[in-house]
Symmetry: C2
Subunit: 212 residues, 2 copies
Amino acid sequence: MFVSRKISESTVRRLSHYLRSLEGFPDIGGTVSSEELAARGQTTAAQVRKDLSHFGSFGKRGLGYSVDQLRDRLRSILGVDRSWRVALVGAGRIGLALFEYPAFRSRGYDCVAIFDSDPEKIGQAWADQVVRSPDEFEKVINELDVELVILALPADGAQEMAMRAVDAGVQGILNFAPIRLNVPPEVPVEDVNLVMELEALSFQITQGEQDA
Amino acid sequence: MFVSRKISESTVRRLSHYLRSLEGFPDIGGTVSSEELAARGQTTAAQVRKDLSHFGSFGKRGLGYSVDQLRDRLRSILGVDRSWRVALVGAGRIGLALFEYPAFRSRGYDCVAIFDSDPEKIGQAWADQVVRSPDEFEKVINELDVELVILALPADGAQEMAMRAVDAGVQGILNFAPIRLNVPPEVPVEDVNLVMELEALSFQITQGEQDA
DNA sequence: TTACTTTTGTGAAGAATTTCACAATACAGT
DNA sequence: ACTGTATTGTGAAATTCTTCACAAAAGTAA
């Protein structure tokens, strides 16, 4: 019914997935059943209904969910019905890839500052942005009201910048550095660890072969 | 004891994390306790022991685990005690970032081919590689014995290339395209979805504020 | 050898998540 | 209005994952 405490990580991932499916629906004004949504997300209809039920009941029995309504509701639940002010820390290949990732800006994640400690890079123009020195970090974060920080730098600098981001009042961190960041529990961190993903893959392949 | 069926996704992620921690240990010949390992991975000592116990018992009571031995064992479990032949599909920003990611090659993931459908890109040299046309895909995958494919292309081309990869005999797929791939269950797929990560982050921030 | 300390490996308990199953309800057709 | 069909919302059951707690080592020191 109400927004109960503790929505699990897996539920959130599925919600994000449902939203992605709904965005693929051209059918304006139509409806979608939990069954259809499940088919697109390799989960079950019951799981879809359970996930959605944590936030209220916005389906119609016998009919399903209004695509438009559900999409709007999911956007609001996931916090993407607004825009976020993001700073990118690390102007390497990964930083560049993210900066130019189309889905990034199109979903309201506005990159308003870029930092890198490499003197070669400081001052470089990236689209409408200029790469800044980390010396300016706190000042810029405050002046531009940055809410999210993306850490796309090597492991050794990541912990320090995470701390500085938290102290500067940032609300969340997307971390690409392959270390576990030590931050206060009230600041959410999401990790993207490419090595871990590859290892999960080779694990599954290796295991699969052992079974055969 | 023995490698039992069905190791959970979360266990695999933790194993990968333990390995990362152990690689940071300069201490050659030393030992490490489940307690220490847990502290580095924001989990508990009992969890570490349970995770490891799925694959045998390679600790010494009263002493802990031999760093060297455990590291080797984890490498073997995760399948990174060997090298993997990888093809990159999509020579955009994300593809480039991955191609140049140092941890990539250093862990035995050898990129042996790059494909892109953009005629502008075909023929470009990337380090020791040349970007190839997807027309050559099946031929090259077979000739070079490619085992893993990294899909770093837009959503609309991803499903087709996934299918072609599976038909060509590829054993696993790392997917950066924001769609759920439809492949036979015996071919493992790992998804890296940047939008999903950002949404998980904004969800947590939004939720946190509602509680306060 | 014996006592003491440490830390593993693991059954059992507890917690969390997923699936089941069905009453409630919404609409369509007649 | 009534019958039939579809589909939600949700307790309860089943399953999976995590934590607890402690006996079984393994080393150390006297």
